[in-house]
């Protein structure tokens, strides 16, 4: 099974939901379940539809594996909650296809909340 390695960064207060750690590294399988179920084991994948790991899947993965509290502050209707900015290798994800962006090895994905007081 091939895997991809990612660097994840949380900012703007979002790190508070992730053990108060701003930086994380993680490894994902390069092919994942199409239904974004991040708990499907690699062996079980042969029986289900698969897709290349994309940002949409990453958001589910982060919620199910790294997030410690209040998932509703991170996710809403299968994507990040409105008001959270996402950067893929320092580029606004709106220019990269948002959730459909297919993750590459060594990508850096940044999530920043804009919802905290100024």
């Amino acid at each position: 099974m091939t895997t991809i390695s990612l660097r994840i960064e949380f900012g703007g207060g979002l790190e508070l939901l992730f053990s108060n750690e701003k930086r994380h590294t993680l490894t994902l399988p390069s092919m994942v379940s199409s239904d974004n179920n991040s708990k499907t084991s690699a062996d079980a994948l042969s029986g289900v539809n698969t897709k290349p790991a994309d940002v949409e899947y990453l958001v589910f993965y982060l919620r199910d594996h790294l997030l410690q509290e209040r998932p509703e502050l991170f996710m809403e209707s299968n994507t990040v909650r409105p008001g959270i900015l996402v950067l893929i290798n320092d580029t606004d994800w709106e220019l990269e296809g948002e959730g459909e962006y297919v993750l590459q090895n060594n990508d850096e994905i940044v999530f920043i909340s804009t919802l905290h007081g100024g």
Partner: protein
């Protein structure tokens, strides 16, 4: 997907999609257009005059940190000739404001601006920690909001500045428009979209980020690697504003121009004369000299309630009547020092000890 090219310089790789225009632009063009739009806002509204002493209301959060950085940049680039100060209010919230004030102290060094910190404890004799321990989390935002507004004016008077600028951005203003509509608060609806507000004896206030989207402020801070503090206040957040905010963010996700459109709607409302006539006339507080629409200003009313252990008296009319029925103000009650507007203002300067 191949990298997209900047719509402005047609050269570098685009890194941001502008919410206002949908344009895809590169990092350098983004810095330039963001700063230039703030400059245009400032010049079109004639916010400043050469030599003005300007206090930046600084919380250590993203908006005021970006505002301090951008104003310093524009002051140098366009020779505004402003004397800039940082003014912070310490509400006395352990684990929240004490940390964010550390950020402001670093900003003081980074931006080379004088910093003044005024605390609720010093001005009112109460920290928010102590207020919450007496009244609980419900309504504590009322105290904090009323106290902060007056503290900013008093801090600015102490700095002898002509003008206070705050980091309120387009999203904040759109939220406030929605809240004022939902509450039927016609007086505030009329005022909340103004870029400048000034009463007769209050210090001029303005919002240079009135047209700046929160997304761009956060992106600017991120790409400039600015040092800001982002933690939610540990006491109950303003629930009503929270709903307005979530609603606005949902609208923005569907159509990014929603924010500027709501501000435009707020500006376009016209208040009928007969409605205006029912609004209260501004006077000065009989106890502390601060502007007020009643004999006592809101801060003095709230403070008296706290001091007498009847904190809700500042919040509802019924509780106020009950307080009045308790008899006259006891002696040695903590009061707010008499307000001294900045020099050039003919009001008397009397100091009443606490």
């Amino acid at each position: 997907m191949p990298p997209k090219t900047c719509a402005l310089c047609e050269n570098a790789k685009a890194i941001l999609k502008r919410p206002k225009t949908g344009q895809q632009i590169c990092k350098d063009c983004f810095f330039y257009v963001f700063e230039t739009e703030v400059h245009n806002t400032i010049t079109q509204a004639n916010l400043f005059a050469r030599g003005d002493r300007v206090a930046i209301g600084a919380s250590g959060g993203k908006d005021s940190t970006v505002l301090a950085y951008v104003l310093k940049t524009l002051n140098e680039r366009y020779h505004y000739g402003l004397h800039l100060f940082l003014l912070s209010i310490d509400e006395g919230i352990t684990g929240y404001r004490d940390d964010s004030l550390e950020t402001v102290k670093r900003n003081q060094q980074q931006y080379d601006m004088p910093l003044k910190i005024l605390s609720y404890d010093e001005l009112y004799g109460w920290t928010m920690d102590r207020i919450v321990s007496q009244i609980g989390k419900k309504n504590n935002c009322t105290f904090c909001g009323v106290f902060r507004r007056q503290a900013l004016d008093r801090g600015a008077a102490a700095l002898n500045v002509d003008h206070i600028v705050t980091g309120h951005n387009a999203d904040d203003i759109a939220e406030t428009v929605l809240m004022n509509i939902m509450r039927g608060d016609i007086a505030r609806l009329g005022r909340c979209t103004s870029i400048v507000t000034q009463g007769e004896d209050t210090i001029k206030r303005s919002k240079p980020f009135k047209y700046a989207y929160e997304k761009e402020i956060v992106m600017y801070a991120y790409f400039k690697k600015l040092d800001y503090f982002s933690t939610e206040c540990i006491y109950s957040p303003d629930a009503y504003r929270g709903h307005a905010r979530t609603f606005l963010k949902d609208l923005e996700a569907a159509r990014p121009s929603a924010i500027i459109d709501i501000i435009h709607s707020g500006e376009a409302f016209e208040i009928r004369e007969e409605i205006k006539a029912t609004q209260k006339i501004q006077q000065t507080c009989k106890r502390c000299g601060y502007m007020s629409s009643n004999d006592l200003c809101k801060a003095c009313t709230l403070l008296e309630g706290l001091e007498r252990g009847m904190a809700s008296s500042g919040i509802t009319d019924r509780a106020r009547k009950k307080l009045d029925a308790e008899g006259p103000l006891p002696e040695n009650l903590r009061t707010i020092p008499f307000y001294q507007p900045p020099s050039g203002n003919p009001n008397p300067t009397i100091t009443i000890g606490s």
